[in-house]
């Protein structure tokens, strides 16, 4: 009588195991074109990588209504170009935002396009390799910078929780596509799989070239945030934040002028110095004039918008750079570094809340942290109560506490006429110590494919089908207490 119910129950159960298998499923569903690259680069960091993919999908959807469609019509002939595409879209979007404010920024997409063609040369640049394409790095820096600008405008129009997602997605994408930008991207979680040599490389490079510039302190975070990824994001977030504070403190001293609007001013100064830095790095001299004008435009924009964007712009600017370890402290706030770290933390939290949304039924609408936490609490409580109830029920059903599973199966099989499984010997040695085939790695990562192809797995699967068949008459899901 409950067979139909059980059937419908099976489906959501399968669906509910989804979060464990983010990697296998969400990747394929959300990013058919780009999954290879992303998988190749971030296979170790699946939850965060997956969050990137998901947020990336959102951001690309956002980009879809940019008014520079001609950029999208560029031949997209490779996976990396797919990323390039999004970068360009991103920048196109930023150029949209620039339009009203600083005028004359239409050239930006062209510059980006020009650099976009460099990307196909970099597809081999999987995170393991050392950077060999300074032009590419310049592109990414500029992309980051423009995404920062866009972040300022996003902040005006979008829910604060959304801002970090988008920027985070940009930064992660930028990080993952360019192997070189491990230099920047160790803050990004998907760099976890990369080699350990980046930390050494970056400080030396920037130490040399940064010293003539004022912003030598901008690039100091790399070793620490690499530690962050090594030791796990959650625990060490605080440590890295603390170190970030101290280093950024120096920066503030360097730069001088206080005042709120100078929060933006500092940002602009740093962008200036970043651009100078990039000029030193870039081999592509054709881009220099555009860099200069970008710098001027940036200054203009900042001066005009210093009051307007207030916090958002600098927050937006800080976030992607933060992912690239170049933490931009906000002027005028003695707690610059703190709020930066807090924003990073908040973004991480919101990423994970997204996973929870999938898990907890009824949480699909984005309703904010408090409501979602409420739902989560209710769900956990209900699950715990169900466990209690079911254990009591089992205790009543079974006075001797003998669970004769074989007995259950045969009876149920005969009762419900579920096919030919009566021939299956349900091995009682399933109860015995049985080589546990695969233990889940910490929580969320799921390489479930290791199960397949195992001979005992076939046995288990055959065991399982009568099992599930036998349990077809089951109560409905959901709290029925």
């Amino acid at each position: 009588m409950d067979i139909a119910g059980k059937d419908t129950n099976m489906e959501p159960e399968k669906g509910n195991e989804n979060p464990i298998n983010y990697h296998a499923t969400n990747m394929s569903s959300d990013w058919p074109s780009n999954d290879n690259n992303l998988i190749g680069t971030s296979i170790g960091i699946i939850p965060t990588g997956n969050s990137n993919v998901e947020s990336f999908a959102c951001s690309s959807a956002l980009m879809a209504d940019s008014s520079c469609p001609q950029i999208w019509n560029q031949p997209v002939s490779g996976q990396s170009l797919g990323y390039c595409d999004v970068n360009v879209q991103n920048i196109a979007r930023t150029s949209d935002n620039f339009g009203p404010t600083s005028g004359g920024t239409g050239w930006i997409p062209d510059a980006m396009l020009r650099e976009c063609v460099y990307l196909p040369t970099v597809p081999g640049m999987v995170p393991q390799s050392m950077p060999h394409f300074p032009a590419g790095s310049g592109f990414i820096e500029r992309a980051v910078r423009f995404s920062c600008f866009s972040g300022g405008n996003f902040g005006d129009t979008m829910n604060p929780y959304r801002v970090p997602e988008n920027l985070n997605s940009y930064s992660h994408i930028l990080a993952s596509t360019q192997g070189q930008h491990d230099v920047f991207a160790s803050g990004g979680r998907n760099m976890n799989t990369t080699g350990s040599s980046k930390a050494v490389f970056l400080p030396s490079e920037y130490g040399i070239e940064g010293s003539p510039l004022k912003n030598k302190k901008t690039i100091e975070i790399l070793p620490i945030s690499r530690d962050e990824e090594k030791q796990g994001v959650g625990m060490l977030a605080n440590d890295s934040n603390e170190v970030e504070f101290s280093s950024r403190g120096d920066q503030e001293e360097l730069e001088g002028s206080p005042g709120e609007s100078s929060g933006k001013g500092l940002g602009s100064k740093k962008r200036k110095s970043t651009e100078q830095n990039r000029e030193l790095n870039e081999n592509n001299r054709a881009l220099e004039p555009s860099v200069e004008t970008a710098k001027d435009d940036a200054e203009i924009q900042h001066k005009s918008d210093s009051g307007k964007h207030g916090k958002h712009g600098s927050q937006g600017s800080d976030l992607p750079k933060e992912e690239y370890i170049r933490v931009r402290a906000r002027r005028g706030q003695a707690t610059n570094s703190h709020s930066l770290a807090e924003r990073l933390r908040r973004e991480k939290i919101s990423d994970r809340m997204k996973f929870l949304q999938d898990l907890v039924p009824g949480c699909s609408k984005v309703t904010g942290k408090a409501v979602m936490l409420d739902e989560i609490i209710n769900y956990v409580q209900s699950l715990q109560r169900q466990v209690e109830f079911l254990s009591m029920k089992l205790a009543t059903l079974n006075p001797q506490l003998t669970f004769n599973i074989e007995g259950f199966l045969t009876k149920d099989i005969i009762q419900s006429h579920i096919g030919s499984s009566s021939s299956l010997p349900f091995p009682p040695d399933m109860i015995l110590p049985h080589p546990l085939l695969h233990q889940t790695p910490p929580g969320l990562i799921q390489p479930g494919l290791s199960n397949l192809g195992n001979s005992s797995n076939a046995l288990r699967r055959s065991i399982n089908s009568p099992f599930t068949a036998a349990f077809k008459e089951s109560t409905s899901r959901g709290p029925n207490l």
């Binding site: 933390r345 609490i377 254990s391 079974n398 259950f408 969320l444 479930g448 288990r460």
Partner: protein
């Protein structure tokens, strides 16, 4: 698809196996149990089994096992069932406490300072709304921490991660228990 269902069913089978094993050992310990004791045995074995599927890699599983082992009688039971590697004592709680205190004091300072700055920028009402929202979140986080075993001194990020894992495991537990209960019910009904 196949990988996904394969994983979940393997998890369920593992859990079921361990659970049944635990129940058998328990019932070998104590011959005649009244219903409450049976229920306790069932629940204990279920909790132990589901915690051991994580192989002590998550905080909640370690805490759960540790809590169960606190009881002396249970301890023997636990050690019989599982190898010692899985019964891991909670890691250096003193270190964690010190760490969390330090973090907490930093957070307090940071929060107060940020509030000042925001009050300057956004005006007092916005700040108040924001602080109310934060309070709500904070209260609920506290409740969640009390729900998830071992969630007491964890920061927000890892708390959510643990919650995720815990929810999944709870689901597996409930699912298997429910199926077993229904099968038992059917078998007794058919008798």
């Amino acid at each position: 698809m196949k990988a996904r269902t394969g994983y979940s069913t393997s998890l369920k089978q593992e859990f079921l196996k361990k659970w049944i094993k635990g129940i058998r050992i328990y019932s070998n310990f104590k011959k005649d149990m009244n219903i409450l004791e049976r229920k306790k045995a069932i629940k204990l074995s279920a909790d132990l089994a589901i915690a051991s599927t994580r192989n002590a890699s998550t905080r909640w599983s370690r805490t759960l096992t540790a809590n169960i082992s606190k009881n002396e009688t249970n301890k023997i039971f636990v050690e019989q069932i599982f190898s010692d590697s899985e019964v891991i004592k909670k890691e250096a709680p003193s270190r964690l406490m010190a760490r969390s205190n330090r973090i907490a004091s930093k957070k307090i300072w940071r929060r107060s300072h940020i509030t000042q700055i925001k009050a300057r920028k956004m005006g007092p009402y916005a700040v108040k709304a924001r602080s109310i929202a934060k309070k709500l979140v904070k209260n609920r986080t506290k409740v969640l921490k009390s729900l998830v075993p071992g969630g007491e001194n964890m920061d927000g990020i890892s708390l959510i991660k643990e919650t995720l894992d815990y929810i999944v495991s709870l689901r597996v537990q409930v699912d298997v228990m429910r199926r077993l209960a229904s099968a038992a019910e059917n078998s007794t009904r058919s008798l």
